[in-house]
Symmetry: C2
Subunit: 349 residues, 2 copies
DNA sequence: TCATCCATGCTAAACGATTTAAGCCCCGCG
DNA sequence: CGCGGGGCTTAAATCGTTTAGCATGGATGA
């Protein structure tokens, strides 16, 4: 491709258009944004010329003047994890629809890296941050954001007491739904795999597990709780730990679907059948869950919905920085598939 | 959190620091960047003050002056697809390590949306674009990028003749490796599932399929070729189509792992055993592939490696805009697992 | 005929940084 | 005492927009 057309004389700027048309930059600027204050004919002339010369506005310059960038800083800890990928996709969709563009930062579950990343993003003066705080993030870690004056929305996870908007799922209820389902199927010894106390989701999902047990009148046995990161690898390891117990559980709820997939593999590796010999309930209902073999019984946490909600909260706070803090907490929904069935003792044999 | 500290007097800028320290903005700017031209003592004083006052540089303003943003525009067509998620993660990792930040655009396989998205990204004046062009993108579609003077690197997919750098995998060789593996196992009727002619990957992977057949002296039977999008849903549909043939193949290579997962499900849904009754070879070797049941035999295309390569190409072109166009094409590698075995006819029965 | 008004477009000052040529101060040397 | 020069700092221009306020000129109304 040749690029002699415009590149020859340097970038085409407002000023260049102005001098070429014999108008002022003010007029050009207004005309390009279709301001009624410039005559219809002139507007047309300017816009035609801009198109013809391949004018591309410089938002950086405009932002300097307007103190608005239309950039949203999105800080996630992991984008390979499908729950966060789905979240990112939902955010991208909602934000791009509103004319915002995402500046991406990934913290890898590391507070130090998170601080650095968010610091870098802040230099671009995003209109808002949408973040899912890394493991062990404290209020103090978010202090820099708080005083920056930039709108902040937390999504999925939150740092309690941070005073930022939040969009997510009711994790406590969600996991208790999974436990209740297992109880209804007849299970009495139910484990939990995955989840770390360093995140709000870890704490709340554990609380949901305990609440579920309590509601069924079942005791919480620490041995049946295998905390750990929400990864496939860990799900496999966790379920192995449970199966190795002297008196193993007949089922388990998982911190997330990834853990559940790992658990399914672990159960199969032990020569047992998932849904018959051992039941598994996942959490989140990511796209793959329905496609697994056996299809995963899980809890739909409405990731795309709270992703959109987070985007909406960000836009709302940009528009009204002093509006009261808002929390959007969606009701999760049990999705019954094939990975959980009655416990072996109850089955015909 | 209270934010009376600094927010009270508006943002803290270079000028503000300057007047507070009784120095000029020039000195502050130099000092903050550790220029040896300002006295060590002054530098220290400035940096301490900056930290204390919570100074955050405004990169937009700096970029206006320096014509460098440290932003890389990344345009992908789909981020939920794990191959692109893994790519995005690799890009993020490599770029953030080099002090660059990603501005994200998603085209949803739609040329119109792609044009709009890239146009928006361009307004932020990224130092480079790293793109994986949407389906049916033509040279003309990329013309605007070409004349923008911004460095452009294509990744995974490419528009032939566009004259941009490229990093990806040798797809023709890759798929032929899969075919060769099936041939070696004894298969004689091998199908191909997925892939569209609107992308370079679709064309090259099909070519690899045909080359693989040819090398084994097998004919290309159009009926065994089930083109389509590289999605789980489609893999399932595609394999169903093949199995419904009067004389169905005993194996198939897939456009990507997602297709392969779908195909595995389709085979199982037909009551057949994958790797025994029907063999499947995937493509890409995304993280899940090793964890499937059965574990997926596939071709590793080195996504993280060519992701890093794409990042490196972008950095190189930023540094030297006139350097010769470079193509990094990595050798794919067959990964033998459990989803492909000898054809039924050869098995003991 | 003159003041008023409207429509249109312009002037000029921001915005917050970077950068280069120039200035100041002081010291040492002849 | 004057001059050269080293070390540090600064003034001012610049990047590409936006926008408040002003200027112009023709039409309108009294």
């Amino acid at each position: 491709m040749d690029d002699t057309e415009t590149a020859s004389l340097g970038r085409v700027t407002l000023q260049r258009l102005a001098s070429e048309l014999g108008l002022s930059t003010a007029t050009i600027s207004l005309a390009l944004r279709d301001s009624p204050v410039v005559a219809q004919a002139t507007r047309q002339r300017v816009q035609d010329m801009a198109r013809e010369r391949g004018y591309v506005a410089n938002r950086g310059a405009a932002s300097l003047r307007t103190a608005r960038t239309n950039i949203i800083g999105v800080g996630l800890h992991d984008i390979v994890n499908p729950s966060f990928t789905e979240l990112l996709a939902a955010l991208e969709d909602a934000l791009s629809g509103a004319g915002k563009t995402i500046l991406l930062g990934v913290s890898q579950e590391d507070v130090v890296r998170q601080a650095r990343t968010l610091g870098t993003l802040a230099e671009y003066r995003p209109d808002a941050f949408i973040i899912s705080p890394a493991l062990d993030t404290t209020i103090a870690d978010l202090r820099a954001l708080a005083i920056s004056g930039i709108a902040v929305v937390q999504v999925t996870r939150e740092v309690e007491g941070s005073g930022f908007d939040f969009a997510g799922s009711d994790d406590e209820t969600g996991v208790s739904l999974g436990v209740a389902h297992l109880v209804a199927l007849g299970h009495r010894r139910i484990g939990m795999i995955g989840g770390l106390q360093g995140t709000s989701t870890g704490r709340k999902r554990l609380a949901g597990y305990m609440a579920g047990l309590a509601k069924a009148g079942l005791p919480f046995e620490p041995a049946l709780h295998a905390p750990g990161p929400g990864l496939r690898e860990y799900g496999r390891e966790g379920v192995a730990r449970l199966l190795a117990l002297e008196n193993p559980p007949t089922a388990a709820v998982c911190f997330n679907d990834l853990c559940a997939f790992g658990a399914v593999m672990g159960v199969q590796a032990a020569g047992l059948e998932v849904g018959a010999d051992f039941s598994i309930v996942g959490y989140d209902d990511i796209g793959e869950a329905a496609l697994w073999h056996p299809a995963l019984t899980t809890v739909y946490t409405r990731i795309p919905e709270y992703g959109r909600a987070a985007a909406a909260l960000a836009l709302a706070r940009i528009a009204a920085p002093t509006r009261p803090v808002e929390r959007v907490v969606l009701e999760p929904k049990l999705v019954v598939r094939a990975s959980a069935g009655p416990p072996p003792a109850r089955r015909a044999r």
